[in-house]
Amino acid sequence: MDLAIFWGRFHPLLVHLPIGLLIGVGITEGMALFPRFKDWGKLSSVLLLVAFVSSLLAAWMGLSLEHAGRYAGDALNRHKWMGPTLVALTGLLWIMKKGWLGDLSKWSPVGMLMALILMTITGHRGGELTHGEGYLSQFMPGSKTMEDELIAETPQDHDSIKIFQDLIQPVFEEKCMHCHGNERTYGGLNLGSLAKAQAGGLHGSLWVRGNPEESEIIKRLSLQRTNKKYMPPSGEPLTYPQIRLLSWWIESGASAKAGIPENPPKDIMAQLENRYGIDLSEKSYIESIGEKIFPDEELIQRLAQHGFRVEALAQNNGLLAVEAPDTSWEEGFVEVLQPAASFITVLNFQKYKGSLVEIGKIQDWPHLTQLTLMGQEIEIDKLNTILKAPHLESLNLTQTKIKGDLLAVLQGSEHLKTLYVWESSLNEKQISELERQLPNVELVKGFKW
């Protein structure tokens, strides 16, 4: 069979000889219609004989090639039946030309015309098999090129991304569909759509759901490049991240509907971010909230009048970073801070000189993420509300005198990431207790070599 394939591959080469000869016959016969070139007609029979023999050979080669399994589908079938028909017609024409069929020979010009038409169609079908459908028309003025289509298909919103359709299919399109597409289906495989891909090729199905290691496609993609079965046999190979993405998709069920889950494996997450700009990492609270909330200018002015230093985080984020003045408590702080509390995300009392008791009277710190009480004296139970701010991520108690049970107030906090207790009044035992009870919180205790 291998030898048959070897000869079979000469089909596309040899097939051009009868094509040329048949066109030649068309020319000689046509010219012979003019009396001056009557002699040209004598050439026809010998040309037809050679065309017949060579086309017979080419057809045999073509049929051998079919067994190689590279081509399949309707396009092949049509070409497969038209070819031999043309061979038979050529033979018939030769016999007619020889005059062995008597009166019937007068139909030979009609037969000739039919042969030329059939040859054109057969040749075109054959060309489509090797070069792909639309090869001729692709750059015809006014036609839609591949690039236009690709651009139109790039996904925009990452909630609506389908792994196969948006991330895997384009890779197939770029690197596989030249041979395994709607136009050409080498190995009987068409990767043009998920349904067609699922149907597999001559070697069976492409993947085993949930088991990338056993999946033919992953095996073929990850063979040694020198291996005969390695895919793609020529052209740009798939990159490791592309294979990894495919294998992850197969592992998670190879579903058409599969979108991007919340917690994909880390390497997939990194790839989604790096290659497709899909950022799945946990956003800091500030980034997730800020765009909707902007305090009015008057509020900021009032804080500033009381000596608070106020900064809005950014042009697109109205949350406030506020630093308390280096004065002692003034009447009216609560009245100023209470309306601001719902906009403050960073609050710093480091420079403040006075009692913090009043702060506890302020209810609701919905967006507070960073609180610095450095160098202050605090009574925990008086500061219950602010210490229990729902999104507090960082609490700085460096050099702070702490009265009361810190652990009790922090125990329930979900988002606290960092707690600074260096040079605070907490003793070692208290600190190690905090460390034990708050395993997800980084305790900064000060640093010595």
């Binding site: 971010e273 950022d279 950014a314 042009q315 984020n317 700085n396 460096t398 600074y420 260096w422 205790k445």
Partner: protein, 481 residues
């Protein structure tokens, strides 16, 4: 609001220059008008952007610049192959026809030079650090190593200029100046951009244009604080002039300037008046920040014994913390002497000793005070060094030439991942093979951390809009936490 004012300032300044029609003469006149421009910015939060483009992770930066280019191959980028094949010629395929400097390009052989220093992995992150940096090794889990930095310049001055200004040619504003211009100052008594240079070091020269404002208004240039009696040159009152004399003098000058301002409405005059006032306030604020006598002994122990000697790198690290505590936006340290073309194994230990403990201590000191919540510390040089020996490789010594194709820097602090090594170089430590970070990418990432879209902080000069990253730079999102 302030945004609009600054817009006016740009136009008026240009109008002023155009109106006077003096061309270059007007330029010099303008800098003559504003000699105190050197003394930093005035009003807090008066950056051209008004507010950052998006919520910043970082408010302040300390850049520990290791001038001369430390050898990544002897400090952080561990290459066992170089040690195994020590002395063999570096394969030609590795060079790939890249340009070499004139200093080693003519060598007949390029023997691979394995580091003579022992590497081991540190911290939970398993970062490779050589024995030369024991203190840095101890804080490995706080650090983010970028091993795939690369630059375009092959010699020191263009390379430093490139890192600091985004261009190899002198004349563009330094990073700190861009930040001062974009974000303004957070401390009305100190400049937004302060520079500290280790005293008594030799090596590749440092020019003050490295912390220059380029074409930005002069109040944005970096101000160098020196150790010793006069931290800022020409700031103290001359002998015989006391504070009240100075005050009265400034008040009188202010009246004259106000008159001129009323006449011309030129905002440059206001800027100049503000700079005089700033200088006056700095007469108090600078001695205060430079006075480290109140620092407890255990802090000196943290930074190492060098830190008791003013002007050393360790002492400058301690000062950097004090400046950061006072909301200086950008503190730039320079430490010269890393240019080890020859006798590297003999010379590099001293450099490490001078910088290792101070740098690591600074990071941990910032951390224990909670300052690392919004401060970023950067440690690194202007390029890397070659994996082949410059000059003869012997059993005891080798040298390394300039190598722009890869180098390592590390960062610690706000907004970035920690305990991570990013990027990879090949087994010969010659080319970047994974996740290369170009200097402009690094700069874009810094800007991003500060809440600035690097493509949107621009300054129009000579008919073109300039930015720190020129027309390049991509934020390296992988580095962000």
């Amino acid at each position: 609001m302030s945004h609009c004012e600054n817009q006016n300032k740009n136009y008026s300044r240009r109008d002023f220059l155009t109106k006077t029609s003096l061309g270059l003469g007007a330029l010099t006149f303008s800098s003559f008008l504003n000699p105190m421009g050197v003394l930093g910015n005035t009003v807090p939060g008066d950056g051209i952007l008004g507010k950052p483009h998006f919520a910043p992770k970082v408010k302040r930066i300390i850049y520990l610049f290791q001038s001369g280019a430390p050898s990544q191959l002897d400090l952080f980028d561990h290459k066992p192959i170089l040690q195994q094949r020590n002395g063999e010629d570096l394969p030609a395929s590795v060079f790939g026809g890249q340009r070499l400097t004139g200093m080693s390009g003519g060598q007949a052989t390029f023997p691979m030079a394995g580091s003579q220093f022992h590497f081991s992995q540190h911290g939970e992150s398993g970062a490779w650090i050589s024995d030369l940096m024991p203190y840095t090794a101890k804080i490995a889990d706080e650090l983010l190593f970028v091993k795939s930095m690369y630059t375009e310049a092959i010699n020191h001055d263009p390379a430093i200029t490139f890192l600091q200004t985004g261009s190899q040619f002198p004349g563009r504003p330094s990073i700190g100046s861009w930040l001062s211009y974009g974000l303004g100052s957070d401390n009305e008594n100190l400049p937004a951009f302060v520079v500290l240079v280790t005293k008594n070091k030799t090596g590749q020269p440092l020019y003050n244009r490295l912390w220059g404002n380029g074409f930005l208004p002069p109040e944005h240039q970096g101000v160098q604080f020196r150790s010793g009696k006069n931290p800022v040159l020409y700031l103290a009152n001359p002998p015989g002039v006391n504070e009240s004399d100075r005050r009265r003098q400034l008040d009188q000058i202010a009246k004259l300037q106000q008159q001129k301002y009323d006449e011309y409405q030129d905002p440059e005059i206001l800027a100049r008046m503000a700079q005089y006032e700033m200088a006056f306030r700095m007469q108090t604020s600078v001695p205060e920040v430079m006075d480290v006598s109140g620092e407890p002994d255990y802090i000196y122990d943290l930074y190492g014994k060098d830190s008791r000697t003013p002007g050393t790198f360790a002492a400058n690290c301690l000062l950097a913390r004090r400046l950061i505590e006072r909301d200086v936006k950008f503190v730039q340290l320079y430490h010269q002497g890393w240019d080890h073309h020859g006798a590297l194994p003999q010379n590099i230990p001293g450099q490490c000793q001078e910088t290792d403990q101070g740098s690591a201590a600074l990071i941990m000191d910032l951390k224990q005070r909670g300052l690392l919540e919004d401060t970023l510390v950067i440690w690194g040089g202007e390029f890397g060094r070659t994996s082949y020996s410059q000059g003869t490789l012997t059993k005891t010594t080798y040298g390394r030439d300039h190598h722009p194709r890869c180098f390592t820097l590390f960062m610690a602090g706000a907004g970035i991942k920690k305990g991570m090594s990013y990027g990879r170089t090949d087994d010969f430590g010659y080319n970047v093979v994974e996740n290369g970070v170009h200097v402009h990418d690094f700069q874009a990432t810094l800007m991003h951390l500060l809440g600035i879209d690097h493509e949107r902080l621009t300054y129009k000069f000579q008919g073109r809009r300039y930015r720190l990253t020129d027309v390049h730079g991509k934020v390296v999102k992988d580095l962000l936490s």
